[in-house]
């Protein structure tokens, strides 16, 4: 995966790509129980449903069969099949195994199955070749029905027009694998002759997109994506939603790679905006959350790449980002929103969005690029707000190298050394420009000056304007006077100016505890704790973890308030049976709602 190298060639893109890679592997784990991740991933690998089994499933779809037990009985069979078949056959059967999932998604009208199919892309991705794809298509599509036309389009995209459709299972498969597999496969053919659902077309289309992207055939990919998105637009099927989100994602990604590259207003990403906007409109009307979220994110990305900030701002103000969109889309949306707000000097909002974005970024190392990029912007915004970022941010092993220029920057701002600031800026100008933070950093100059003045006012009880002017490398004493006066007005320093004698006299630092400052700081903290508590309670409501609730209640109160709380807890402990009952109830609900839990994992395949 390209994103694993920190600080890749184009960070923003890097972040996105990484993010997307991550989604494919551990979308389930990102919402809940990080500890389960290993298990889930393992499961993803073994969800290689062999065709034999799924045929039965799809021919007679069980009404209320939870996918959990399907996996269970498959897993052992998978083992022995896997040992014998060769990689190509395996890949083909893996591709085709997803068709069954899609079939079921349509039959049961349940998006979860489509999501599972999409999730398998990450494991398929590295194995895809035109041959595998063409064979999969040839085996699945009969030559006679109307869908043959679609199949020919798909084949043309991977340069395999000459492949004949409706082949029976390939010869090698019959030779290599156990006799029972091809037999069942043939069986499947007969079933599928009746109809090839559009979901399968689109799924194959996505696989082709992925393949073309990985093999860097961008122009071809863009053309094919156009065909695909037109087709999606023509079809009105709710079961297509998660798939179409993906199609648009790759469409936009292809266009980004085509010359002239993004900052140019002639870039193809400008040309596909109307398509995306139309898709957004349709998605909103159809309440298609997946497409809606991903298209909004794509549009924002496209606007920011060409620096159409006001357009991006308008888009944000005229659309509503779906509330229950996939976590990763939310993270991206917040990141872009943060960047827009930072450019518009709305730092408080920017800070809020970017903090949320970094927190929502998947914790695994695959999405490192996104986390780094978001952190970079966040750091600059913090500096612009006059805060000094925590030192620990720069110590994290995964961040240290990428954030080094920013570390130097923070140091310069912290001590108010204009000279250091200028040299850091000059030295790392390319990095900053690449990160898209350069214009923001330029605005920091005034903060450096302010800090410098502050330092001086703290160190000297009286200092001449000339000295200030020399220390801070300001143009003239006059400038220094105006700047200091402004600093006093803005509340940066407590001092007075003497115009006749030309000096700045610092006021005695009063007793901080006599001001409202401690009260405000205390209030802020309490508010944060309360907000944390509220949010955690919400989480408790949805996950039913009674023990967890106790934890937060204890945690979310500062030392000063803990004593009465603890006493209260003691009382509760006496009422043990009440808790016991609570726990039992929670357990019941948990068991009953296992399916719901799975759904909560949500589609994050984008």
């Amino acid at each position: 995966m390209p994103g694993k190298t920190p600080n890749g060639k184009e960070p923003v893109e890097n972040g996105i790509r990484n993010n997307q890679d991550v989604d494919m592997t551990d979308e389930k784990s990102s919402l809940k129980g990080k500890g389960k991740k290993g298990v889930k991933e393992g499961e993803d690998m073994t969800v290689v449903v062999p065709p034999s089994k799924t045929t039965k499933q799809s021919s007679a779809p069980p009404p209320a069969d939870t996918d959990g037990d399907v996996d269970m009985d498959d897993s052992d069979k998978v083992e022995d099949v896997e040992v014998k078949v060769d990689p190509v056959t395996q890949a083909i059967s893996d591709v085709k195994s997803n068709f069954a999932l899609l079939d079921r998604a349509v039959a049961l009208f349940d998006a979860r199955f489509s999501l599972r199919a999409l999730r398998s892309i990450s494991s398929l991705r590295k194995r895809l070749t035109p041959d595998i794809l063409s064979q999969a298509i040839a085996e699945s599509y009969p030559a006679t029905t109307s869908s043959a036309n679609v199949a020919r389009h798909l084949l043309a995209a991977i340069g395999r027009e000459d492949v004949t459709l409706g082949q029976q299972s390939s010869a090698e498969m019959e030779v290599d694998s156990e006799p029972k597999v091809p037999a069942k496969n043939g069986n499947k053919k007969e079933k599928e002759v009746k109809e090839i659902i559009p979901e399968i077309d689109i799924f194959l289309g996505i696989l082709i997109q992925v393949h073309l992207f990985d093999s860097k055939q961008y122009q071809k990919g863009a053309n094919f994506s156009k065909y695909l998105s037109d087709r999606i637009h023509a079809l009105n099927r709710r079961t297509l939603d998660p798939l179409s989100a993906k199609v648009y994602f790759y469409y936009s990604l292809f266009c980004e790679q085509l010359a002239p590259l993004p900052p140019s207003p002639q870039s193809p990403i400008v040309a596909i905006r109307p398509t995306l906007l139309a898709a957004l409109r349709t998605a909103v009307l159809r309440k298609d959350i997946d497409t809606q979220a991903s298209v909004i994110v794509l549009l924002l990305r496209s606007y920011l790449l060409t620096s159409h900030i006001s357009q991006a701002d308008l888009l944000v103000s005229h659309t509503q980002f779906p509330e229950n969109a996939a976590n990763n889309q939310v993270a991206r949306f917040l990141y872009y929103l943060g960047r827009i707000r930072a450019i518009q000097l709305r730092y408080t909002e920017a800070h809020e969005h970017l903090t949320a974005a970094t927190r929502k970024a998947p914790a695994s190392s695959c999405a490192l690029g996104f986390a780094q990029t978001a952190t970079k912007v966040l750091l600059v915004v913090e500096l612009l707000m006059g805060d000094i970022p925590e030192r620990a941010t720069f110590r994290a092993a995964t961040m240290e190298q990428a954030l080094h220029p920013y570390f130097l920057l923070v140091q310069a701002v912290r001590v108010g050394n204009l000279e250091d600031f200028e040299t850091t800026l000059a030295e790392h100008v390319d990095t900053f420009k690449r990160d898209g933070t350069y214009t923001l950093i330029l605005r920091l100059r005034q903060n450096v000056i302010k800090t410098g003045i502050r330092m001086m006012s703290l160190s000297y009880s009286r200092i001449s304007l000339r000295d200030i002017c020399i220390r801070l490398h300001l143009g003239s004493e006059e400038s220094a006077e105006y700047i200091v006066a402004k600093a006093i007005r803005d509340g940066v320093i407590e001092a007075t100016l003497d115009r006749e004698k030309g000096f700045m006299k610092s006021k005695e630092v009063g007793d901080v505890y006599a001001t409202r400052e401690p009260g405000e700081a205390f209030h802020d903290r309490i508010r944060a704790c309360l907000a944390l508590h509220d949010e955690s309670v919400k989480v408790c409501d949805s996950t039913f973890m009674p023990g967890f609730f106790d934890c937060i209640t204890n945690l979310s109160f500062p030392q000063a308030m803990r004593f009465p709380m603890n006493q209260h807890r003691l009382e509760l402990k006496n009422a043990q049976e009440a808790r016991e009952r609570e726990r039992e109830m929670a357990k019941e609900i948990q068991e009953g709602d296992l399916d719901d839990d799975d759904l909560g994992g949500d589609f994050e395949g984008m």
């Binding site: 214009t439 005034q446 143009g475 007005r489 409202r516």
Partner: protein, 270 residues
């Protein structure tokens, strides 16, 4: 074809006589715009011939500059928005005229700055630096574009004397930029006044004059009256912040409010 001829005629008329009054110029411009509409070239389309595009752009630019001279910011903003698609055309279909483009864009930046629309100012700036391929030295080095950028930086820093100097004759990149000087002057003057109120206990009239860039002590007295400053013995005394008392009250009120809030929250938790 007739429309094209009218267009050429108007353009030559406008170019040959740069100092025609605004009313006359604007009537000519509206005629030109009608002609452009007939040629379907008021906004660029992929099949508009490039010489028409150039004429259309020139007309919009002329309109922008003349509306600035007539101090009509709304009309100016309209022209600028109409120019935007022309500036985004590739150089293959329309050879860019960098000087006038930068002039108009610089003026637009200055307008945003004087109207206090900083968010838009910075959005525009961001777009410019991307368009230049991240070559911001090029932008700052430009006579027209660098001017508002520098002004913004100085205003933010508080180097008002530099802003003042930049507005003097000879420093301003072109006469249209001078239009904003008046607004800028009053803007920085009120900035200085509000910081002086906090920074100095008192100021002698004579030095206030230079501090506020005023011409005479009489003007200083007028200004002081406007802001409600007391003048005694040719010294200006600033009204001390009488907010202390109110603030004190605020604190106790705030504490009570907060505590009540905590109590409420505690109740919901317990």
């Amino acid at each position: 074809m007739a429309a094209e001829r009218t267009l050429q005629q108007i353009v030559s008329q406008l170019k040959s006589n740069p100092s025609i009054p605004y009313a006359e110029a604007s009537s000519l411009l509206s005629k030109a715009k009608i002609a452009l509409l007939q040629l379907n070239a008021l906004t660029p389309t992929p099949n508009t011939p490039s010489h028409i595009l150039a004429v259309a752009r020139d007309i919009h630019e002329y309109g922008a500059l003349s509306s600035i001279r007539a101090r009509n910011p709304d009309a100016f903003t309209r022209y600028v928005s109409q120019l935007q698609p022309f500036y985004e055309l590739p150089s293959s279909s329309l050879q860019p005229n960098l000087e006038s483009r930068n002039k108009v864009t610089g003026l637009y930046l200055l307008l945003l700055l004087t109207q206090g629309r900083y968010a838009e100012f910075h959005s525009e700036l961001e777009a410019l630096s991307t368009a230049e391929g991240g070559n911001s030295e090029g932008i700052e080095g430009d006579r027209y574009l660098g001017y508002p950028i520098k002004l913004e930086r100085w205003l933010m820093e508080g180097s008002y004397d530099r802003v003042w100097k930049a507005m003097k004759k000879g420093e301003v990149p072109s006469e249209e930029y001078g239009v904003f000087s008046e607004i800028l002057t009053s803007q920085i003057r009120s900035e200085i006044a509000s910081s002086s109120e906090r920074a100095y206990p008192s100021l002698p009239l004579s030095s206030t004059k230079s501090l506020l860039f005023l011409d005479s002590e009489g003007a200083v007295i007028d200004f002081a009256r406007q802001r409600g400053w007391a003048i005694r013995d040719s010294n200006i005394y600033f009204p001390q912040a009488e907010a202390e008392d109110a603030e004190q009250k605020d604190i106790s009120q705030m504490v009570i409010e907060n505590t009540l809030g905590y109590a409420r929250e505690l109740e919901t938790i317990v």
